[in-house]
Symmetry: C2
Subunit: 381 residues, 2 copies
Amino acid sequence: MKTIPVLLLGCGGVGQQLLHHVVNCRSLHSKQGLVLRVIGVADSRSLLVVDDATTMEMDDAFLMAICRAKSSGSPLSSLLDIGQCQLFKDFNATIKVIAVAGLLGRSTGLAVVDCSASSETIDTLKQVSGLGCCVVLANKKPLTCGIEDFDKLTLHYRGIRFESTVGAGLPVIASVTRLLMSGDPILHIIGSLSGTLGYVMSELEDGKPFSQVVQAAKYLGYTEPDPRDDLSGMDVARKALILARLLGWRIDMDDIKVESLYPEELGHGSMSTEDFLGSGLSQLDKNIEERVKAASLKGNVLRYVCVIEDHRCQVGLQELPKNSPLGRLRGSDNVVEIYSRCYKSSPLVIQGAGAGNDTTAAGVLADIIDLQDLFNCRNSS
Amino acid sequence: MKTIPVLLLGCGGVGQQLLHHVVNCRSLHSKQGLVLRVIGVADSRSLLVVDDATTMEMDDAFLMAICRAKSSGSPLSSLLDIGQCQLFKDFNATIKVIAVAGLLGRSTGLAVVDCSASSETIDTLKQVSGLGCCVVLANKKPLTCGIEDFDKLTLHYRGIRFESTVGAGLPVIASVTRLLMSGDPILHIIGSLSGTLGYVMSELEDGKPFSQVVQAAKYLGYTEPDPRDDLSGMDVARKALILARLLGWRIDMDDIKVESLYPEELGHGSMSTEDFLGSGLSQLDKNIEERVKAASLKGNVLRYVCVIEDHRCQVGLQELPKNSPLGRLRGSDNVVEIYSRCYKSSPLVIQGAGAGNDTTAAGVLADIIDLQDLFNCRNSS
């Protein structure tokens, strides 16, 4: 049996789902000769970690108790009395993560898994990476900060995986990496990488007003609590930046041209979420309707896409042929078209659900398992 | 720098292209801290191997000379005088491969790469695998023989890769493996896995006779020299068997229901290639035309697909909605739809060129590179 020690940062929806997957996959992984040993779990305020990180682990009952506590809004500290764990808060939590990474990193390996949505994990991740730990990210922020941070995190490129940052569990990063490794130069990537905006744009084809479609998307749970966080395009831009940097482009967020679907006067600084949904959103209907109609007259549809090509990385609305993989897209599926020497006349296309805690956490787990050859910790059993 | 020693079995089109890729990727791989060291190349009759497999390698000029010789029909023995190599023939070639595997396998790792189309490599592959070597396959035969051989080859599942056996360089195996690793059970796979039959079936939609479409496909170089080797469906069945076994199904070729597109009386035993193309093929036109028309009346198209579902693995013609990923397929692209817990209502779809030496060899190279964490041989440089 080979053991993969895991320390989880962030136990919101994706983190909790990951712990569920780890527990549910015990017998599957055991058949593959693998054991995942969760030694610590952190949220934004504190870290719960086993007393002895070299030998102990959080058992399945305890992992499920963490999920129950976090999903009901209780702090990690409420769990202190049921396990052989220690609690560290704030700065001490960070110190302890580094200490554990120093203890396990080079000797047996440790996967530090970031399922948070915070940019505050970056320093910790850089340090644990320098201490020989592997890093797995669902969190896009550490890869979309300054290029120096990106370089440092990806210096040991075999020890970092981040499939779930783009298209959730869809094998987009893995496919791009395979092409790059085989010396097949990627010429052009175009993709619809937001399930929310994919849904919105495809619903507009039926002639529904933009405001109504966005309200419906919010009702269906497809949007962030404030839909402007989707409509700004910033989340898609982060994914585009990750892909562009994966291609070796040394660019920052500022280098990406991002089209927001609402103007500044309807922004967070000018009105509340309620006001935006109540009165702001409908002000956008006319303009979007005209653009949809103009596209339709040419046999095209509007899609919110990222385009990475010729040192140009941009994110926004684009007219595309109705009868193309992107034009045919309906619902909340993501789709990515990759053009390279091998996939020149017709692209390599990857399509499927690109959001959801289950799918995202499954992608994270696949990344962890895929790192196994870098771990040298074996059980005696 | 980390060194990956490589021994290549089979230097037809894919093998030659692999050697080209290795040479062309030198500086790319060097930036990733990698060196591929080709220590031997074998064809069906002989093995050329460096004098000292622990330290020497075939240099790029020599690798290109091998490609030139093989593509012009010269034997490997014609190259003996230009490199510091030894030549081994027939049984002695096999003995030497095993000896080299024993020398390098456990100590530093050796990637034995099978780009042949032969079933005669199986015993060698099983032996080198047992000696600690990694195995990379473009050759489907070793994975489609008896289940005991498959079990033995995949026993050390991290040390064998075979992406290019299904869909050439398309990341089909990698995607299925990722889903399986993350405990996302695969419910159903349906795919068009033959570029030849994909082309033929999509051309039939325009009302062209089957015989004319097959002749055109042969003219375009899409078919095997005898198109019956495509029309029999056996190549698709081999790919289906590999996918089914990857899902853990313990089945053999005999368990797959394969629909041949020609009857036994037009088979290899009854008529020559010339007779089949001259008079046999057109006998099939009427039946196929009727099936295409019947499908069309229901808004469907005919596709030659593999279906893996509910312990049923079959390969043959199926009516599919015109407006589905498989129904929309044109030209020689492959497409695979994977349904799992995470991709239930809408599948994970992978589409793109699924044939060609360039693409196939690129997939093989990506597999070799992806094995790097299992190698422990470092250059002093």
